[in-house]
């Protein structure tokens, strides 16, 4: 059994024998003490929200459009963080749900002329949910608990196969995908790219974020944490561990589906990459970059990775993939818990479900 969180921590604490260790330990102590103050997470969340609300006011048009895309991707990243950061299910094929929902709504728009927001968004969500239930059911349920590596390669393969299928299937436009999707509509109003679309997706992101936050802070979230730590162990408490996994995987799929349908309408086209390995890996990068298991880390990671690649491709045209790779590597090396760990202490990141009493140290002997 591999346990993502604990394991990451061991990675940091590991190799204790080397010379620099003592200094590192001491430095770590000093840092921790500084940090023991009020909770940082809500401050970070609030800051991000305010920035997001103000963005269209200060950004140029095309950047607002870009920001809309980033927010949709952040929603997608959220779905992955829920599944990996909280339940420890490594979904290396999250794009499968994102993309299939995208294709689904694209077909609705193309073949049935359905673009009403109240139809297409639920439809996309449902498609994501269904696919996640099917794939999750196959990979996660069964007599043996499945290993993290199996699940990750299973989902990766699923998404790889879907990509292949989309490329080969004519009805879906093959390699070329489905271009020129009609804009999403509400009555007579059409959501074209711009501030309106931006605030729409921002609103959706905030709502979903709050729901996720509620979910992971609930006792259900504690069960997920147990799941992530040691699935077999909590089965002996009487948890239906596999059901929990399937449920959270399906919720993740549904959110990814929602994001995918927004993305399809915003970009105006869908193409096979959207269900494939590239996008699947990308979302994993967002979350690890920002810091998994915090929700806000997923959002921050998306914004930074997308923003930086946007900037790099503008300024270092020939070598930007290399620079991006280097940057990722550096963060993964020196901040294996993601950028969020700069401001967030260990305990707050892993979370604690009991209220911490003030007079902690002098209870009982």
């Amino acid at each position: 059994m591999l346990k993502p969180m604990s394991v990451v921590r061991e990675a940091i604490a590991g190799d204790e024998a080397d010379d620099a260790m003592a200094e590192r330990v001491a430095a770590g102590r000093a840092r921790e003490q500084v940090k023991a103050g009020p909770k940082v997470l809500p401050i970070v969340e609030g800051g991000v929200l305010v920035a997001a609300l103000l963005a269209p006011l200060v950004l140029q048009d095309y950047l607002t459009v870009f920001a809309t895309r980033v927010i949709i991707l952040a929603l997608f990243a959220l779905s992955f963080d829920l599944v990996w950061g909280y339940a420890g299910i490594m979904s290396f094929g999250q794009a499968l749900f994102f993309g299939s929902a995208g294709y689904g709504v694209a077909l609705l728009a193309r073949d049935l002329d359905i673009t009403n927001i109240f139809l297409v968004l639920p439809a996309g969500t449902l498609i994501g949910l269904t696919f996640a239930l099917l794939l999750g059911g196959f990979l996660l349920l069964g007599r043996h608990p499945s290993s993290v590596i199996f699940v990750s390669l299973g989902t990766l393969t699923g998404s790889y196969a879907a990509d292949r299928l989309a490329r080969g299937w004519y009805y879906l436009g093959g390699q070329n995908g489905i271009p020129s999707i009609a804009p999403m509509s509400l009555g007579g109003y059409e959501f074209s790219e711009g501030p309106a679309f931006y605030y729409l997706v921002l609103g959706i992101l905030v709502v979903i974020y709050l729901l996720c936050r509620f979910l992971v802070r609930s006792q259900f979230g504690l069960s997920l944490a147990g799941l992530r730590e040691n699935e077999q162990r909590i089965a002996f408490f009487g948890y239906k561990a596999q059901h929990l996994k399937a449920i959270i995987f399906a919720i993740g799929g549904a959110i990814a589906g929602l994001a995918g349908s927004l993305y399809a309408f915003h970009e105006g086209f869908v193409w096979p990459n959207m269900v494939g390995v590239v996008v699947s890996t990308q979302v994993v990068l967002y979350v690890l970059f920002g810091g998994s298991g915090t929700l806000i880390g997923a959002v921050i990671g998306t914004v930074i990775v997308e923003g930086v690649s946007f900037w790099l491709s503008d300024n270092y045209r020939d070598v930007w993939p290399i620079i991006l790779g280097l940057l990722l590597l550096l963060v993964i090396l020196f901040r294996p818990l993601g950028l969020i760990s700069f401001v967030l202490g260990e305990r707050e990141r892993v979370g604690s479900f009991g209220e911490k009493p003030k007079e902690k140290r002098n209870a009982a002997s």
């Binding site: 590991g14 043996h144 990750s152 699923g158 292949r164 994993v284 990068l285 990722l328 590597l329 993964i332």
Partner: protein, 285 residues
């Protein structure tokens, strides 16, 4: 009859190529518990070094001989600088090596200008048996693959190196407490896996020509092969690679290639689902 023979040879030779590519991947995955996403780029580097030798007018076999050593040395350095920090966190390792692979791949792409470049084989042409033509180089690859496999097997089963490696992976702090120098072992294993990839790249570049995505092409296939074979042993991934390689070469003989392509993966995943320990449950070498 002749046809069946050629078919068998062709299928086998592709199987051998996949085995060769997966060997290093499998050793790193089984022995170190890391699914190395940069493995494809080690293959690419092996190919690139061979190409360099050719482009500089050196004999091609010299490039091929140098490739495993250069890539192995690079592997050793990378292990010490980067990979070392990942052992306890396999998923972070996947991402870290992914980033590493991206860097290597894009650098090589820059170096070769994004082209598809040919490298001739040191032993060219075909072996003719009656009306049948068999590629001499593919035949050579089969032979070398068998030799390398045998060599690895002996190294891991007959020397204490294998034991040290497995002990280190299993429980590094206990291994240190048993007097094993774990950093050295990690470095050596990773370098060895990288060297095998370099060799694979050198040998296959005449067959597939050199391009930046050469290694990436085989990566997912390689992972699936390792899983099908079973992590934790040397034989497992090799067997898995043999199966996946021959299957993906053989299926297009009997069905539409596009279907065959997806089918291989679906079959593999279903297989792993119902036999999670793989073809060969991970014990021994």
């Amino acid at each position: 009859m002749a046809n069946a023979f050629v078919a068998a040879f062709e299928i086998l030779s592709f199987g051998a190529i996949i085995v060769l590519i997966v060997l290093g991947l499998g050793i790193i995955a089984s022995m170190m518990g890391i699914f190395n996403f940069a493995q494809g780029e080690f293959v690419l580097l092996g190919a690139y070094i061979t190409y360099l030798a050719y482009a500089k007018g050196l004999p091609i076999w010299a490039g091929m001989a140098a490739a495993p050593f250069v890539v192995g040395a690079l592997g050793f350095v990378l292990e010490a600088l980067i990979i070392r920090r990942f052992y306890a966190a396999p998923i972070v390792a996947m991402l870290g090596t992914y980033a590493l692979g991206l860097i290597i791949r894009e650098s090589v792409r820059g170096l070769i200008g994004g082209f598809y470049l040919t490298v001739p084989e040191p032993i060219g042409g075909s072996i003719d048996i009656g009306a049948m033509h068999i590629s001499a180089w593919r035949f050579t690859i089969i032979v070398i693959t068998l030799l390398v496999m045998g060599g690895c097997y002996l190294l891991l089963s007959r020397t204490s190196f294998g034991l040290r490696v497995r002990a280190t992976l299993e429980n590094p702090s206990l291994a240190r407490a048993s007097g094993i120098s774990t950093p050295l072992i990690y470095g050596a294993t990773f370098a060895f896996g990288a060297a095998l990839a370099g060799l694979a790249g050198a040998l296959i570049v005449p067959v597939f020509s050199l391009f930046a995505d050469l290694g990436l092409r085989f990566l997912i296939q390689g992972f699936v092969a390792v899983m099908v074979g079973g992590v934790g042993s040397f034989i497992g991934p090799v067997a898995g690679a043999g199966v996946i390689g021959t299957l993906s070469a053989a299926l297009p003989w009997v069905m539409a290639p596009v279907v065959a392509d997806v089918l291989v993966f679906v079959l593999a995943i279903v297989f792993i689902k119902f036999r999670p320990q793989g073809l060969i449950a991970g014990k021994g070498v």
